[in-house]
């Protein structure tokens, strides 16, 4: 039984291997970019707008407001990163309703890549916002004794991000596969529906956690509360 789409390789040349994960990701990228381009190529700033534009605006505003709610005062600066995280994960999970589709998020490589992106993005945004000193000082909060724990936290949460998403999506797909082999009718459908829900929730959790980490790094007041959210996860 194939657990990860990584295992399905189309083409290989030494270190380089073109597997299903990468190909699916490309398709998703194409889908997202093309869809966005099709809708936004003739945007109107009139009072009356097209339905697709309304949907997109709703989506973008929702993401922006979520980021703002977590405590980042300039959501426009972070929406590119956080919004893309959410959209990519959400769409990739939603498409599990398509037959024979295998979500790239069900590959640990993909989730690790996303987690590493967050891991890198947090200090990048932190330094960009409060300078290198300001960012490094956040590791000494509330005092220097906490420095090793902060560093451990930083690494562990990255690991947690990657494994959580992978585990959820992979398990969803796996359960569906297993169920199909046992009870081919009806039950797999329920599991698929549950999988959709889980996928959406995971997309939200991943994006919101990333926001919380960035908020914490940018020394925002509400960012400290964000750490507590992490603790409860």
């Amino acid at each position: 039984m194939r657990i990860s789409p990584d295992q399905m390789v189309f083409w290989e040349y030494g270190f380089i291997s073109l597997n299903l994960t990468i190909v699916t990701t490309w398709v998703l990228m194409l889908l997202l970019a093309l869809g966005a381009w099709l809708i936004t190529r003739n945007l109107k700033s009139e009072i009356k707008t097209s339905r697709w534009q309304n949907v997109l605006e709703m989506l973008v505003i929702m993401i922006r407001d979520q980021i703002k709610e977590v405590g980042l005062k300039k959501p426009e600066k972070y929406i590119g990163f956080i919004g893309t995280l959410f959209l990519f994960i959400a769409v990739s999970n939603l498409l599990t309703i398509v037959p024979w589709y295998e979500a790239p998020t069900g590959s640990l490589s993909t989730t690790a890549a996303l987690a590493i992106s967050v891991f890198i993005a947090v200090p990048v945004f932190g330094i960009a916002d409060g300078g290198l000193k300001g960012y490094l000082r956040s590791y000494l909060q509330p005092n220097f004794i906490m420095l090793p724990f902060n560093i451990i936290s930083e690494i562990s949460r990255t690991l947690a991000l990657a494994v959580r998403l992978f585990g959820n999506i992979m398990s969803g797909g796996l359960i569906a596969t297993v169920l199909i082999s046992i009870v081919p009718f009806f039950f797999p459908m329920i599991m698929s529906a549950l999988g959709l829900l889980t996928g959406m929730i995971q997309a939200y959790i991943f994006a919101i956690l990333a926001t919380v980490y960035i908020a914490a790094a940018t020394q925002d007041e509400k960012g400290i509360e964000g750490r507590e959210v992490e603790g409860s996860e």
Partner: protein
């Protein structure tokens, strides 16, 4: 559960590309459109507020003008009403006056007419009375009455007083030619003599007399010279009476 590190790197690159793509095609245009629309709406709202304020100002102005106009209209209406009332009063007064004048005129003319009728009636009555008296007396007149008349006439001459006497005497004295004595009937000789004697006594001179008949005198006697005449006849008596009654009547009218 293994990690393919090439896939990890590829996915990171893919993700970064996707970030760029979505930023380029999704977030930026959408947010820009939203901003533009918000700006547009804000400006439209501002514009609307300005227009509203303007409209309110215009409305206020209009209302003020309207109120002023109403006030003016009411005032003018009142003035016109007052004018009409006063004009009506004046016209009524005029009509009343005119009617009063006309009525008084009418009453006057009525009264006058009435008076005229009364007067005419009175006159006619009087005339009739006098005519009857005259007729009666002329019917009753005869020589003996004439005799009596002469006696009364002589008595009258004798009893003339003051200015009348002087005038009479002067007239007879200055008279040249005969004195005409007119009567209805032929006077008897004794009457003639008596008359002549009386005249002589007054005038203190011899007079020449001529006797004539005049039936219109009804009854009585008349002495005439060229410049004077004295008579005592029923006719003249009646005339005098009539004249007196007319004067009395006029006086009565004047009092009325």
């Amino acid at each position: 559960m293994e990690i393919n590190w090439f896939t990890v790197i590829a996915q990171i690159v893919n993700f970064l590309i996707l970030v760029w793509l979505l930023k380029r095609f999704l977030y930026k245009p959408v947010l820009d459109a939203i901003d533009a629309r918000e700006k547009k709406i804000a400006s439209q709202l501002e514009d609307a507020a300005t227009k509203k304020a303007e409209a309110k100002r215009d409305k206020d102005l209009f209302r003020q003008k309207n109120e002023a106009f109403d006030k003016e209209r009411v005032a003018k209406m009142n003035a016109v009403h007052e004018q009409i009332d006063s004009e009506k009063q004046r016209l009524l007064e005029d009509v009343r006056k005119e009617s009063t004048v006309l009525r008084s005129k009418f009453e006057q003319s009525l009264k006058q007419q009435e008076q005229e009728i009364v007067d005419r009636l009175k006159k006619k009555t009087k005339d009739a009375v006098f005519d009857i008296a005259k007729k009666t007396l002329s019917d009753l007149a005869d020589v003996s009455l004439e005799q009596q008349v002469v006696t009364v006439f002589i008595e009258k001459i004798r009893n003339l007083d003051g200015a009348s006497k002087t005038k009479f005497i002067d007239a007879l004295k200055d008279n040249e030619g005969p004195i005409t004595i007119k009567s209805v009937f032929d006077l008897s000789d004794s009457s003639k003599q008596e008359l002549e004697k009386a005249m002589e006594k007054i005038t203190e001179k011899q007079n020449d007399f001529r006797y004539e008949l005049e039936p219109e005198l009804v009854s009585g006697i008349k002495i005439e010279t060229a410049s004077y005449q004295l008579s005592w006849t029923i006719d003249s008596y009646l005339e005098a009476l009539k004249k007196e009654s007319i004067i009395t009547k006029e006086k009565e009218n004047a009092i009325d």
